[in-house]
């Protein structure tokens, strides 16, 4: 058992996505000790999967790289991957937190030389790319991964594969007997930046996700558009790799719907406008159809919308999609009622993109501490108890709102030891 003792005023940040990284760095750069824990094998979270941010169309890895450097340069931050919170005892100013680190099966000897992956015969679905391609059973989480260390999906590794990668590693970094490790830390306050998951698209039966490869989610489009993604940056129809002549975006796929997510997920309108740019760049003449309830592109985002709505080959239909019909040629027909004309619209397209919303991660699991969750699973901060939520764990929000709210969370966390 490794027990880590922070100095008084230490802060635990749960979640290593853009919100958690920001909360951790903003806290540590004031001068407080920070423990940053992430359940996945590398930091960066959901935004690491995005090709570009709206409205600047800049790569998320640019900001992540700066943040990773800030982490590397700051001795106040201790980082833990593959680690989750198991129990929280005590009270504000003096929490004792039990953490558990899952086995990575690759120890700190790893130099990320890549010889193991080259030698590994076993493949597994690449979760980072939503299963659109395979990775080896031993892999780097993604190319910009921090820490730059490989990880093994043990369930996908055959005995022969295990022998092959052990033989390939010159640095004795493979440890298939690695066990989960529990340890405790003491902190004054806890920032919950546990983020979100894309709403499970199969739950909307009418939208037929999973029944045709031509129905994808907006997050899958991000991976396809990314140069590092499963198609090397090409947006094509999964399965037959057909070039796109027509594409429909289905807004509010799960959001603003009392049977699914009752709230508005905030980002999906802008995400669709951004993805229209990806499509247009690759297919100058493709027809684009956007089915929406309202176009929520407030404030500075209006200009971004204006440019894309001027596209002569794009149509915007105010109407919620009622049905998606699978077609024999591999395409689909999207069915909706136009709310302005009361006409029934049917539009055949090569590919339909479900603009699925954000569901708070903790809404899907038991919270590891006494947290005040709302009905959707968002965390309501309790400042008296020094339990503070940040980013999309707090509410559905765009990145700039998340980094802002995470900065605010840092101050609430610091106040606890200065009361």
């Amino acid at each position: 058992m490794t027990d880590e003792q922070g100095t008084s005023g230490a802060v635990l940040v749960v979640g290593g996505g853009i919100s958690g990284l920001t909360a951790a760095l903003e806290t540590a750069e004031v001068g407080n000790d920070v423990f940053l824990v992430e359940k996945g094998p590398s930091f960066g979270g959901r935004v690491a999967q995005l090709n570009q941010y709206f409205p600047k169309l800049c790569p998320p890895s640019c900001g992540l790289e700066i943040n990773f450097r800030r982490v590397k340069d700051n001795r106040k931050i201790r980082t833990y991957t593959m680690t989750t919170v198991k129990a929280v005892k005590g009270g504000p100013g003096n929490y004792e937190v039990t953490l558990e680190t899952e086995p990575r099966y690759v120890n700190s000897n790893c130099t990320a030389c890549g010889d193991c992956t080259a030698a590994c015969p076993d493949e597994t679905a690449n979760d980072f790319n939503f299963g659109m391609n395979n990775s080896k059973a031993i892999y780097l989480p993604h190319e910009m991964a921090f820490p730059q260390r490989y990880v093994i999906k043990k369930s996908a590794l055959s005995p022969a594969g295990a022998d092959a990668i052990k033989a390939a590693c010159k640095y004795d970094a493979i440890d298939l007997d690695m066990q989960p490790e529990m340890f405790t830390i003491n902190v004054a306050s806890i920032i919950w930046a546990t983020g979100w998951v894309p709403y499970e698209p199969t739950k909307m039966e009418n939208l037929k996700f999973g029944q045709s490869k031509s129905i994808v989610t907006n997050m899958m489009i991000e991976r396809m558009a990314a140069p590092s993604g499963p198609t090397g940056g090409k947006i094509v129809r999964p399965g037959d790799n057909k070039a796109i002549d027509s594409i429909a975006f289905v807004q509010c796929a799960g959001s603003r719907d009392e049977n699914h997510l009752e709230y508005c997920s905030h980002i999906c309108c802008m995400a669709t406008f951004k993805q229209m740019s990806y499509v247009r760049e690759q297919y100058p003449n493709a027809k684009i159809y956007v089915f929406y309830i309202d176009l929520r592109t407030p404030g500075k985002y209006e200009k971004f919308r204006e440019v894309r709505m001027a596209d002569a080959n794009a149509s915007f239909i105010k109407g919620k999609v009622a049905d998606i019909i699978l077609e024999a040629d591999g395409g689909v027909t999207v069915v909706a009622e136009n709310a302005l004309t009361a006409e029934k619209i049917t539009q055949k397209v090569d590919m339909a993109v479900l603009a699925t919303g954000m569901q708070p991660s903790l809404g899907l699991q038991d919270a590891p501490a006494e947290l005040n969750l709302d009905a959707s699973g968002f965390i309501i901060s309790d400042f008296d108890k020094a339990m503070i939520s940040a980013g999309c764990a707090k509410k559905a929000a765009d990145v700039v709102t998340c980094t802002q709210s995470s900065t605010a969370a840092a101050l609430k966390a610091i106040q606890v030891s200065r009361r």
Binding site: R69, R70, T111, K170, C264, R419
Partner: protein
């Protein structure tokens, strides 16, 4: 510090297989006269113990020839009192070797090329180690940790309250007689909790009370800031009675050309009667950082003539309607117009963000609360109720008396004692005409910075925040990842001056701005930089005896860190500095440098590259690489084994803005055959972390082309490229094509001179 050197070269990760380690060590111990050890696996326990043992024995300056400095940062960190320099011979040499085309034999000298490249990186690293000094943090003689909050509205009050709760003293300055700002006029506030259907008590009075009863907070009402001089940790604030003119009002920036005109009497001096920007007011109050929360003003909507504001009675703005609602009963039949309409325009009024959709829902509820048969019509193009506000929207849809429809408002006219509103393209499938008592226009929230300087800095670069036009006048940052980072260090904006925000958002925003102010003060106290080089203990030092007062550094600093005296000699403010080195790049006299980053240091590294003569297979191209985005992308290219010409030599720089053209001249006069800059995108959607660096560097490179021409060299030997961190797949091509171009041009004719 008396330096004791040792270099360590790692043979791991394929380095030892590709290179002759002994020969490499020979370069270090021979040419560079530095002790050198090799190890098969330097980052492992045994390798690190080797180095740590030597460190215990007195080695304090360590050269590590291994992987990229971006990885194994903690493994090769031997303490802040040691100098460690990394030579990237893994990603950028061994892993970047150009593979022969399939079926062809490798170049017969491929191994030699690789060896030469690795040798050069070690020469450069050893040179850097010799030239690097340990940083000595810049400490103010006296630091003031009080925070000034400008604006006593909700955002300002919250920033003050939250900063004080972390132990800091705060001064709030508010130009009105009373605290509370705009929020003091709200009848109710939006729901902030489940079930998100009920309006709530306006919290402003309780916040005012808690601020007024707080010993750490000083309130100055009916007061304005005339000017703020100084720098983080030591700002000097001059106050004045609200509305007064003062000789201490912050002077406008006067350019060199304007000053000429003023001197000739051809232009009026905008600063007549004002103290110079460098004059220090002995009465000024000292503070450490500033939160700018000067808020917003309701936008003028009289330009939308078809809506009748200012001409037709009972057409009011949402702000005016709120006043009515606060004072008493509102009319029974009211239309709320969310978008100026006209058929082609489905945008909201400017400066609305999503706030005015919420305001309309709230005010529609007043109509129904105040009148038993009240009817409120909300005419929108797109209702903007993000997140849980959707539930408030839904509850309004289910409220008797509130009618919502999408539609384009075509005209508002008087008809008898009431008003007629004509709406087209509604959800009802037809054009409609509404008879109402009052029309409420969803006017936006214009930031004070749209029309005023607001912050009133006594800085050489002028009193206002810069780049405001990029943000429609909001005091915002251009960084999605770093929303509080503007180009004025120590000044953090929040609330309506930064964005049109709801009260809930403003509270969160103000808390974040307070954190940034505290963080800036504490970083200043430690003598280190704030974002993005957070924790950097170096700062630019000036050898003033050789300054020629050319003013380039003071003009080009993206952060306005440099003031100047009458003659134009720079007056540095190290605590405003973000350590990008743009001043160092600008200086033609080469008198600006950091302890670990100087013109001489990089120049010497360039000169340390071995330049073979009379060998067209061995031309040398210098590539100065932005360490923030381009350098990681190069590493990525290496990881992907994409293959980069063996003739390129990379040197990371803090920002392209720090690139001094002396380095380009050094390279060419040392016989190198070409030089390239690789940096971030610039323009409106700039990605440069220091805002202006890459743009400035590109301009300088254009000028150096002209210089080359006069020397009889092809200007094409120098180039600048903009890349993103994700362009690792394009960078090898960019570099290789440039090298091909140089090869085509042939060797630098000055080689060997």
């Amino acid at each position: 510090m008396d330096k004791k050197y040792c270099a360590y070269i790692c043979a791991g990760c394929g380095i030892g297989d590709a290179l002759d380690m002994e020969a490499l060590a020979e370069v270090v111990s021979g040419e560079m006269s530095m002790e050198c050890k090799t190890h098969t696996y330097l980052c492992g326990n045994e390798g690190r113990s080797l180095i740590e043992g030597d460190v215990a024995g007195g080695v304090n300056t360590i050269v590590v020839g291994a992987c990229s400095p971006r990885v194994m940062a903690r493994e090769f960190d031997f303490g802040v009192d040691k100098i460690t320099v990394r030579a990237n011979i893994r990603e950028q040499v061994v892993w970047s070797e150009v593979k022969p085309v399939e079926g062809q034999a490798p170049h017969k000298e491929a191994a030699a090329f690789l060896q030469e490249s690795a040798s050069d990186y070690l020469r450069m690293a050893c040179t850097r180690a010799k030239k690097t000094l340990l940083p000595e943090p810049y400490k103010l003689e006296e630091i003031n940790k009080t925070i000034l909050v400008m604006g006593g509205g909700l955002a300002g009050l919250t920033a003050a309250k939250e900063a004080s709760a972390a132990g800091y003293k705060v001064i709030i300055v508010e130009k009105e007689e009373k605290l509370g700002g705009k929020a003091a006029g709200w009848r109710k506030s939006f729901p902030s909790k489940a079930p998100w259907t009920d309006l709530e008590e306006n919290p402003i009075n309780s916040i005012i009370a808690s601020v007024e009863g707080n010993d750490r907070i000083t309130v100055k009402t009916a007061t304005e800031v005339a000017r703020i001089s100084g720098a983080p940790g030591n700002f000097g604030v001059t106050f004045k009675a609200a509305g007064d003119k003062s000789e201490w009002d912050a002077p406008q920036k006067v350019t060199v050309d304007q000053q000429d005109l003023i001197t000739k009497g051809e232009m009026q001096d905008p600063n007549a009667g004002l103290k110079k920007y460098t004059d220090l007011n002995p009465e000024a109050l000292k503070v450490g950082a500033v939160v700018l929360a000067t808020g917003w003003k309701p936008a003028d909507v009289s330009q939308y003539q078809h809506l009748g504001y200012g001409k037709v009675k009972n057409v009011v703005t949402n702000a005016e309607f709120e006043k009515l609602a606060k004072a008493g009963k509102v009319p029974a039949n009211v239309a709320f117009i969310q978008s100026p309409g006209g058929k082609d325009n489905d945008k909201d009024f400017p400066y609305c963000n999503s706030v005015t959709s919420m305001v309309a829902l709230k005010q529609a509820q007043y109509v129904c609360q105040d009148n038993a048969d009240g009817k409120a019509y909300i005419l929108y193009q797109h209702m903007r109720t993000p997140g849980h506000m959707e539930l408030y929207y839904k509850s309004a849809q289910n409220t008797d008396g509130i009618f919502l429809t999408k539609g384009s408002v075509m005209k508002v006219e008087e008809s008898g004692s009431s008003l007629t509103v004509a709406v087209e393209d509604t959800l009802l499938g037809e054009d409609i005409s509404l008879q109402v008592d009052m029309v409420v226009l969803a006017a936006g929230m214009e930031p004070t910075t749209l029309t005023e300087d607001s912050i009133n800095l006594a800085y050489r670069q002028g009193p206002a925040l810069v780049d405001l036009d990029l943000f429609d006048g909001y005091a915002d940052s251009h960084f999605i990842c770093f929303p509080y980072e503007t180009r004025r260090t120590g000044i953090y904006a929040c609330g309506g001056v930064r964005k049109a925000e709801t009260m809930e958002e403003a509270v969160d925003d103000a808390t974040g701005a307070a954190l940034k102010a505290i963080q800036c003060i504490e970083s200043t106290d430690r003598g280190v930089s704030v974002h993005p080089r957070s924790g950097d203990a170096t700062y630019p030092e000036f050898f003033m005896q050789r300054c020629t007062q050319c003013k380039r550094c003071t003009e080009e600093c993206p952060f306005g860190a440099l003031d100047d005296d009458e003659k134009g000699t720079p007056l540095p403010n190290p605590t405003r500095c973000r350590r990008c080195g743009t001043c160092m790049g600008a200086c033609p006299e080469r008198i600006i440098g950091f302890k670990d980053y100087t013109i001489d240091l990089i120049g010497s590294m360039i000169k340390a590259v071995e330049v073979p003569e009379d060998d067209e297979d061995r031309l040398r191209v210098l590539v100065l690489v932005c360490e923030n985005d381009a350098y990681p992308a190069l590493d990525m290219a290496g990881m992907k084994r994409l293959g980069i010409s063996h003739m390129a030599r990379f040197i990371p720089v803090r920002c392209l803005g720090s690139v001094n053209m002396a380095w380009i001249r050094d390279a060419l006069s040392a016989g190198m055959d070409g030089a390239m800059l690789l940096g971030c995108t610039y323009g409106d959607d700039y990605q440069c972390h220091f805002v202006k660096g890459s743009e400035i560097a590109n301009k300088r490179m254009e000028n150096i082309g002209d210089t080359l021409k006069t020397l009889g060299l092809e200007p094409e030997r120098c180039a600048a490229n903009q890349v993103a961190i994700t362009d690792y797949d394009k960078i090898p091509q960019i570099i290789n094509e440039f090298v091909d171009l140089i090869v085509e041009m042939g060797p630098n004719p000055f080689k060997g001179f």
